[in-house]
Amino acid sequence: MGFTRRDLLRFSGGSAAGLLLTPVPWTLLHDTAVLTENWPGVPRPRHGEIATRYTTCTLCAAGCGVRARCVEGQPVSLAGVAGHPGSRGALCPAGLAGHHLTFCRGRATEPLAKGKPVGIDHALASVSAAIAECGSGESVAILDARPGRAASLVYRRFLAGLPKAVHCAPPDAQPYGGFGIDLENTRAILSFGARVLDGWLSPGRVLANRSCFQLIQAEAAYSRTASLADVWVPLPPGGEETFAAAVARALQGDDADAQAAHVARILLHNQPAIAIGGGAAAARINQILGSVGRPGGFLPRRDFMPATNIAALPDHSIRVLLIEEPAANDSLPWDVVARKLAQNPMVVALTPWLDGCAQHADYVIPAPVYLESLDEAPTPEGCTVAGFSLSPALLPTPPKLMAPAEFILRLAHDPSAYSEILKQRVAAIKKEARGTIFTYADAKSTRVADFASADDLWKAMLGGAAWFDDPIRSSRTESLPRAGWSNPPAVPSPEYPLVLISADSPPPHGSPLMSKLYRESGLRRSAIAAAVHPETGRAHGLADGGRAIVKIPGDSFTAQVIFDAAVMPGVIQSAGRASSPASIRRA
Amino acid sequence: MLSHIVFLGLFYSVLAVVSATVGLSLFRAVQDFRARRTEAICWQATFPDLPARGRVCRHELTGEFRHRTCDKAFDCRECQTHAALAARHPPGPGEPDIFGLNFPLDRFYHRGHAWAHPEPDGTVTVGLDALGARLVADPEATELPAVGAHIQTNGAAWHVRKRGADVRVLSPLDGEVVATGGSQHGWYLKVQPDGGRFDARHLLRGAEIRPWIARETERLQSALDPTSQALTMADGGVLMDDLATGHPEADWDAVCSEMFLQP
């Protein structure tokens, strides 16, 4: 008789019972659970030799010392260098995640002509052609993000060989000209909108001295610095000049409004005091306070390399503009630059990023980012003595990338490599034999003179070291540069009843981690947020958290409304926006 | 540590109890098989599921009680009440003709419409009574136990198929089948009762039959046609020989299950 269904049931029943007495079910339970430990898609970190390497941060002008923890040569985390005279062992958030920069999206990976990939030689040829075609009255300009570096020397040398050329800098570069700030001895700071507690100079140095100086923040925006300052003077947008004048008057004993008088009193009672960021009027205050050239004020230093402020150039004068955009956190005010361009200009962007000035460029020369190539950090911004340190690459330079200086050297048909230029710079330091070398690895300072040769010095600096000049006793009497940051007053009109002003914004280029953490913690309001005072908001029919359209002359954007009672009434605070009259309505 | 012991101890003892319960009932079930208690238990498990009207005590039928539901699953042999009542006034003789149906008085009747007739040779003949026979007249199939098979009181005696109704006829006695007949013979089984003597205490007899059949016909009617109260008996109250053909609309399975005590 055949195999019936009942037989099958019996058999399978038996095998089920039997299976329970084998490791099968239990092993399966266990191993599937273990499988969840190395779940598919969870990467395995690299293991291997762990080494510490040193470099210097070039993300901004602060030039902080960096200690990198490397696994098999790959940096896995960055930290400050304890005892570094410039950065006091600190790094800013961007610096801490600097080694992620190379993996960021939106990078320029190959030379582009009008967005189309081209060979580097073709790019060079057409740029030189454009330079050759330069007519009379038209000039070639290199916009140098940070004048005063070896790269800047390369630029100047190249430009010197051209009939009409100019080496210029962004409006807010070199705010203190050839001066440094003797922060260690300052007792009061009157800041006109400078982000003193939010990335000004080198954070470590500022914060280390924070408890020693009174901070008066005079600006319209309720910025990070304003919210933490000892005194916040909420100026009407663009009211810096007037207020500065009032303070100046009060300082001289003339009558002024209570607020100015109060500020003046603080400045007088906390000497030495300085005023920063306020353009001409601030310079005036400094003059009255006598803060130029005295301890606790602005001290002159060697090495100053003046560059023309691009804003000061005649309009429509530049035919060929080469913009060097470093892996910087502050982007360029394009409207200012555009005004200077002549008819059918050629704009060449020497940049690692596609979303910065590259958008406006005819040619894009992809530059390596921080840690991808040997670079240099010049005198830290605001440092009272000249400084210099190398930023050795910790990562291989990706193919097809070219450092701006290299590109200019090729343009100038100069055979020498950028590293050679840097080496010459080091050699010069050795030759002048001034100042001390601070080596990162052992946090020791050595006189330059004590180095046997320029080569030793070069090696030392490649291993992570910073040179700082000796302070100078100079009787230079010229006052601070008049240029520098200053808001044109934005006048409200019936059409634009409000004023749009900039608020702290997350750096445009940073580690994906940084943007994530800022967004999730709400530490930095995203660029699409517009903060207004609740009353202002309601007056314009807005709702907290709702969407709104912000109109400014010649432009408009939608933003998410945030009611913030701390914001000045009649003002819209939005990240990374230039000051301008504006109107807002519910979207 | 202690809390671990207490907690897990409780948990495992609960598991133990649960599995023990299941195990025990399985074990008992097997025991029942061995001891041939299957049929009895099936009936035990079936009886409570019968509709209340199918479970009335025979003494309610005879009017000795107004309302009494049998709690012995129709096994009056274990019922003191029955013993007492039967002793006080045993059922008198009745008459064989009831609504034109013939219920010979020398037979004992099971509530499942099987009759038992003790033969002089000590065997007992078993068949379907007049009502039962009309319910399954000329069946499509009859499945009789093999000669030598053992049947139990209230257990299945034989099976009859009729118009989709699968009827199992309950056995009126315990015993061993010695011969098998069929509808055409008028009897179905000859049974050698266990222990040689035939105990009929649980079967209806004499005067008990009429009230019982009266009640059965009511049930039959409601089963045949739950809605109408119309008299379903052909020509002046005599049931036709083949009820099935007489009521083509009726759900025969339901009718038979009602009359043959199948839930």
């Binding site: 019996r10 058999f11 038996g14 095998s15 084998t22 490791p23 | -």
Partner: protein, 183 residues
Amino acid sequence: MFQEHRGQILFLGGALAALVAGWGGFPAVLFQREPQPVAFSHKIHAEKAGAKCDDCHFLRADGTFTGIPTLDKCSGCHAQPMGTTAEEKRFMDRYVTRNREIPWQVYTRQPENVYFSHVFHIKLAHLDCRQCHGRQGQSDALGPARVNRISAYSGSPQFQNMDACENCHRQRGAANSCLACHK
């Protein structure tokens, strides 16, 4: 006979089949046997070259453990073929001359989430290599590594078994909290 016990026999048959499959077949299927790329003999290295364990498997200054040495350690001595065996030749021109790292199969790769400190066990607990690695140091040939097809761990019950660690730690009064050995 068969007919009347048909039920039981079928049941037991099923059980038997399951037992055979479960104990016999399953482990064979579950574990993948990965042969070693090179026929390496600890014995020869220990006896002929007089190498000790920590000549190749040593602790770094920061206390981390090198584990299996990289190729340059091998080519340190094997710059020229040592001996004329076919295997040596194969080894030379497949790895040394091409300077390709040897894809060793690790018997005892710890899961990513395990922090096992060799330095603790060697320097502080003063354990001898043999106590965990047995006579591997004297072995003449490297057997294949067994890799669990489901969990993808190189399964060596002795090493992939937390209870073993815990027991020893308990006996010696060493730290036994989760993160003492996990990361």
